[in-house]
Symmetry: C2
Subunit: 124 residues, 2 copies
């Protein structure tokens, strides 16, 4: 029953995400890992991203565009540029995140707050 086995490809994907501070798409991770691992396939990257996310080792960021990934699981707050669609970290004191945009060098035109969990019907 699916014991997690060691794989160089998975290591490479995780290392890549942990080494960078942008929020790459699956394709961008693929291109980056490919440099040290020319034979890796995009499907393997997708499989391992999903696996690593379910292990809680990385974060998937859902945007209107392609999904993006974050190797740093401690920061849950992000900023998406409507133009280039990049995702940036926003340093936030999570106890007081209502005041966060002060030291930020972009223009914030809106935000969305999403809660995840189980609704009253599904929680049982």
């Amino acid at each position: 029953m699916a014991t997690l086995r060691h794989s160089n490809q998975r290591d490479a994907v995780l290392k890549d995400l942990q080494a960078r501070y942008d929020h790459p798409t699956a394709e961008e991770v693929y291109l980056s890992v490919k440099k040290d691992f020319p034979s890796i396939s995009l499907a393997t990257v997708y499989r391992n991203l999903k696996l690593l996310e379910s292990e809680g080792l990385i974060l998937k960021i859902t945007t209107g565009d392609s999904d993006r990934f974050d190797g740093h699981t401690h920061n849950h707050y992000h900023f998406t540029c409507n133009q280039c669609m990049k995702v940036l970290d926003v340093d936030v004191d999570s106890a007081d995140f209502c005041t966060l945009p002060k030291d930020f060098d972009g223009v914030i035109t809106g935000h969305s707050l999403m809660f995840f969990g189980l609704c009253s019907k599904c929680k049982n």
Copy 2:
């Protein structure tokens, strides 16, 4: 240059969204509007959803799943059930939304806060 013209299909899509308080996918809007408008196509629904959103008449809600739509533009806070993927409204005093989950009958296991706008590179 693209003067907005009247169309019964567009009216039907907007009316449907304004009459309901769930957050349907494009397909769900399509199925619903189809009842009173058997000849409508899914492509037309997609085109009109996009149009209505750009007019600010409806809201698009991006989730990990299919996009969902909201005919009530005043409420920006939502809750997604991880199981059924439905989106529910969460009544929030937007001046103090840190305290919102109190009267909620589901289980909240996480949340995500997303800001939209232009980054320092794109804002010019």
